[in-house]
Amino acid sequence: MNRSKPKHEMPPRWATLLLKSVCPARLANELEGDLHELFEQRVKTLGLRRARWRYIKDVSSLMRPSLMKSKPSQYPNPSHTDMLQNYIKIAFRNLVKNRTYSAINIVGLSVGMTTAILIGLWMWDELSFNKYHQHYDRIARVMQHQTYNGNTSTTPATPLPMRAALQNEHAAEFTHMASSSRTEDHILAVGDKKISRKGNWVEPDFPTMMSLRIVKGTAAGLDNPTSALLSESVAEALFGDQDPINQTMKVDNKNYFKVTGIYEDLPNNTEFKDVSFLLPWKYFLQEKPWVKRSENNWGNNSFLLLVQLAPNTGFDQVSAKIEKIKARHAKEEARFDPKAFLHPMNRWHLYSEWENGVPVRGRIQFVWLFGIIGAFVLLLACINFMNLSTARSQKRAKEVGVRKAVGSLRSQLIAQFYTESILVAVFAFLLALILVQLFLPWFNQVADKQIAFPWTDGRSWLFGLGFTLVTGLLAGSYPALYLSAFRPVKVLKAAGSSLRLQAGRYATLPRQTLVIVQFTVSITLVIGTLVVLRQIQYAKDRPVGFDRAGLLSVAMNTPDLRKDSDALARDLFQTGAVVNMTKSSSPTSEVWSRDASFNWEGKDPNQLGDLGTVGITHEYGQTVNWHIKQGRDFSKEYATDSLGMVLNESAVKFMGLKEPVGARVQWNGEKYTVVGVIGDVVTGSPFMPIEPTVFMLREDWASFIHIRLNAAVSTRDAIAKLETVFKKHNPGSPFEYKFASDEYDYKFRAEERIGQLSSTFASLAIIISCLGLFGLASFLAEQRQKEIGIRKVLGASVAHLWQMLSRDFLVLVLISCVVAAPIAYYLMHDWLEQYSYRTALSWWIFAAAILGALVITLLTVSYQAIKSALLNPVKSLHNE
């Protein structure tokens, strides 16, 4: 090149190109100018070769980072962070400009987020159950499968000799072992202060295994048969500000224990949350005759056995080794095919249900269920956002066109739309935090939890922020990617209507699909809720078999109540508040004990005589007001009734008695005669079949006093009168009573909780969906204003316009119904399977849900449709 132009010498071209490729555009001009000028001079003074050489040296000396990146002064080259300010400003303006849409978006999203946060907190609480205990991954309880009459039942109750056998034969597998009693109410008294709390009798290793945090004193006290450990709350209730250590307290008005240690209360999400004090196992063993008797009795499954595994083994390994331990030691128990196994602590809460010896879905199904519901409700809210944004896209198409023409990159437009959606998400998140704070107490009550929002935990904030970001991105992705892809020429040239034509009928397809998804989810939830509520009502309507109104029971928790029962009865009747009074061994709607050694004429030798047993007094029938179906109630006129039995109808069916009255039954070496049959009384779960039960006159078994109040006396007066009587006869304990109706209602707690939560979620889903529909309808109505105006001018009636505007949405909702019904049927059929006393999935539930959805849709859409149909066409047509 130089040779071809010898007169006009050129600098090396490659050096210039190199500079251009590295140098920012704004600097290139002036630097090239300088280089060129110097080159020209040097060609004259130094000659071409030296000039070129200097040129190259200069270029390479210019290639330094400090020069290449230095600040722009003339042309702004905004980085993304510079634009952020602008994005936020524009996003704000857009939000304020479209107040209704922004409000719908923010409220909808925040409701969705609130739900998701609450459910998230709940799931976290469930999943972190028992993690308070340091060794929660090494602790297990020994459980057993046993088979009676072909049914395998699984229980955490074990016989006492099991512990000794494990200790003798498998000591190497365990680092700790602790037997414990069940958690029972006891009365604790210090001086005049008497309180009733739940506690356990435990072996000395228990506090160490459970890593109880000792606040005062020592955990070692349980070695001593007269020492006790208290939780902080009980210590405070008993001793107030006094130092509780080495103080003495009286338990059940009988035994004295010295407090040797105080431990931190167990949090609500632990298995032993109710255990508020620990009493020494040694005392339990020495002083309770029935426990002592059980020491070598493999047949009495009444005790908890907790173990901590040695580091070198696993739960399954040890389970396999101990499986046959009971069958080997107790030949007479082998017929039940007992199989022992370890149930690890980290599975206690969520995986604790077995059916015929096989693990089935436990509580974990609710964790999944609610997790899915939460995700769906959030999804619904995100769908709203997407739908409203895309629907409004035609309005913003021009904006996109202008921005692109002016020089926006697609990435900048995407950033712009994402900023907008993230801003909405942040607002929604802030609102959601407020809502969570407001609704947490209510939620805790419904869900039976003590969850607090972890305000101080950095991780939760990180999570919340990430969650907001993801929601924002999720909700904004469709508009951001869809809108930013518009071609500027097309959107700027085309008028609004032709743009719609260009977009074609498929442009609305994704939107319609989203609406269908939304309503499918909502309708499924609504149907599910209706079924749950129906099932609860169905069980509540079940004949209970006795009269709950005005019936209350008092636990016979101290020996005082057993001493002089005639005097107690006399005093009670004297108050005039009591109509009837009786005693029994179980609460009115429970059966607490059963025995498998009943025999009767015509019994199949392979059948196990396994019946529930309740000991009662003569007045029981009158007091609870049960229904005699055959024969008669117990009566004092027949001395032989002491060897009489009353059966319930289920027992008659179970025993296969053709002529139940007068039938002979052998039990415990005695011959009993059936005197009467009563209608079934619901015991245990009201959703389950009724247990075959025999009632016998055994006053000595009694542990409850049942009292029928006089309906003529107000409950409050009656209770006050009873209290004075009980204070007199049972001075050692506070007067505590339970109404039979409350006890009965308690059985529905779990199901009612599900019902309450699912109604809440279903209503939220419907509200969010309708909110979205409302926004969509109002937008579309606004868009078709001119069309409506012209139609009206040409003579269309309001009814016709209303029909036109509503029809599209109704069709969408109808499609959702068609999709939702089979899904809901499948899911709810599955759910109902777990109850043996269950309602049918009748068609009217589906019809009601579908009708409700249609009516709500129509109402939502009609408001906008009628509003725009009523608009004066002059107004909508006068401009343009």
Partner: protein, 108 residues
């Protein structure tokens, strides 16, 4: 004072800008220094120094018009600011002061 510290080369560039007041751009400054000091200077070094001086507020710059001699490319014209002038004067005064303090016998 660290911010206004002037390196030797920076001082030279600043002086060159002052000398060529009204026509001080990259190439001119290079020429000036080469003439005055009789040594060759890299354009990159000069530009770096000019940028740094501008950052320190000792010179300011503006784009000049395009001229024919540079193939129609524009120049950036530098001007010494009041701060730059004071910096130069301070250096000069410091030098003079030190010169004055050299005892006569030092030269013998």
């Amino acid at each position: 004072m660290k911010g206004t510290y002037l390196g030797e080369f920076e001082e030279v560039v600043l002086l060159a800008v002052a000398i060529r007041t009204g026509d001080a751009y990259g190439a001119a400054v290079v020429n000036e220094i080469e003439q005055q000091l009789d040594r060759s200077v890299n354009l990159g070094a000069v530009h770096t120094a000019l940028h740094r001086l501008e950052e320190k507020g000792l010179v300011k710059s503006e784009m000049g018009g395009a001229t024919g001699e540079r193939g129609g490319r524009s120049k950036r014209l530098y001007l010494v600011t009041a701060l730059g002038r004071r910096a130069l004067e301070e250096i000069r005064q410091l030098r003079n002061q030190m010169w004055d303090n050299i005892p006569k016998i030092a030269w013998s």
